[in-house]
Subunit: 237 residues, 2 copies
């Protein structure tokens, strides 16, 4: 059977894509999906993605770490937000986490009907690509974007995946072709350098998270593939 | 005042963009907006964009030419669809046209609250860019896409505009940066060659409209800028 790979550039566009029977890769490079990968690599047991800050709060007292980010900042009263440096082994090993973010958990919730939902970031690029290459399902790479608009970093990562799996795919959509070309272009000058052009990264710069950005662009420091099971993210076995 | 330019990659994403006070450039390269430019260049008096085939039909008998396209083909019973070769001076000079297309008129209708709505295509690239450079409003380049998904050709044209106007713009969104880079990449190999990679163009190829595609990629054979006035497109004076 001919395999298709599509790239959805914003959660708002999901209604126009086939979800049933597909593997959906959720992408929110700065910073939710990078931190999720890093958290599992460091021994987190499960991460529950929830849509709202209120829902996150409802887990209080149940021995969960509560992580809530809105507009790039930790929400007041929460343990932490989505900085990868909050997901070190000292902090998350053996722990359960409830997480809500501006863009990333929103995307996960929109893809609930997929055959499998997995989490992608530059941190686990190779292991995710290799796994995708062993599957038979069609693939949808779902970029979280920024408040439902296109963003560069998620698209670049989608392009990195396309570049590594296209030998096993018969049909790429236009957005996949564009994403790969943008990734190859960005790679020439270096991802961080390329993103300096991005309005979004400039905004992130103002939030003083340059260390996070550098970290989230590291490749293959994680081998884990987070997967959604019963509405909870767990490390794929 | 700092001017902003954003690129909206699908009509479905319009709700996330500011429209009020902006100049919206509607883009549907294959083929609606190319044909609209060509029609005015050849003396058409007005083109009324309507959302549905039924609405188009309601103008029957009122001395309008009726143009209806769905899924790349002329709808049965209509004078013509959206091939630019239907918009020659022999056919449209001095005529009024009612037009409905799969993607293009849909986008026009979604942008109704803009300060100005104008029509862009490679055919009028320079005159449109020069005009945009003389304006003070923020600009939204609105790609019609294909059935609400991203397509390459509309994005490449958005990138061509970005390339020609960015000297007069202070703030570009991520999608504008990506569009320009894709355009510059495509220009290196030639637009037609680049689009051979596109799933959408392959589909168009199956519809036997290679001549249309070649034509719609010609640059600057029109100087007209179509603009929406009272729900009708007319040539800007």
């Amino acid at each position: 059977m001919a395999r298709t790979l599509e790239v959805c550039l914003s959660p708002s566009l999901i209604p126009h894509y086939e979800i049933d029977g597909r593997i959906v890769v959720v992408i929110d490079i700065f910073r939710a999906t990078s931190s999720i990968c890093y958290g599992f690599e460091n021994g987190a047991l499960e991460i529950i993605p929830v849509a709202t800050v209120e829902e996150c709060k409802s887990y209080e007292g149940d021995s969960y770490l509560l992580a809530a980010e809105r507009n790039g900042e930790v929400v007041e009263g929460f343990n932490f937000g989505n900085s990868p440096f909050s997901y070190t082994s000292e902090k998350v090993s053996g722990k359960k986490i409830v997480l809500t973010t501006t863009n990333g958990t929103h995307a996960i919730n929109k893809a609930k009907n997929a055959e499998k939902i997995v989490i992608g970031s530059f941190l686990n690029l190779d292991s995710l690509s290799n796994w995708l290459n062993e599957q038979n399902n069609d693939v949808l790479l779902l970029c979280s974007g920024w408040k439902n608009k296109f963003n560069l970093e998620d698209t670049l990562f989608a392009g990195a995946i396309v570049h590594q799996v296209k030998g096993h795919i018969e049909k790429l959509c236009d957005a996949a072709i564009a994403a790969e070309d943008l990734y190859l272009k960005a790679k020439e000058v270096g991802l961080r350098e390329y993103l300096y052009k991005s309005s979004h990264s400039q905004r992130l710069k103002e939030l003083n998270i340059e260390d996070d950005i550098q970290f989230c662009l590291k490749q293959n420091i994680c081998s884990v593939i987070p997967i959604l099971k019963n509405n909870k993210l767990v490390p794929m076995q």
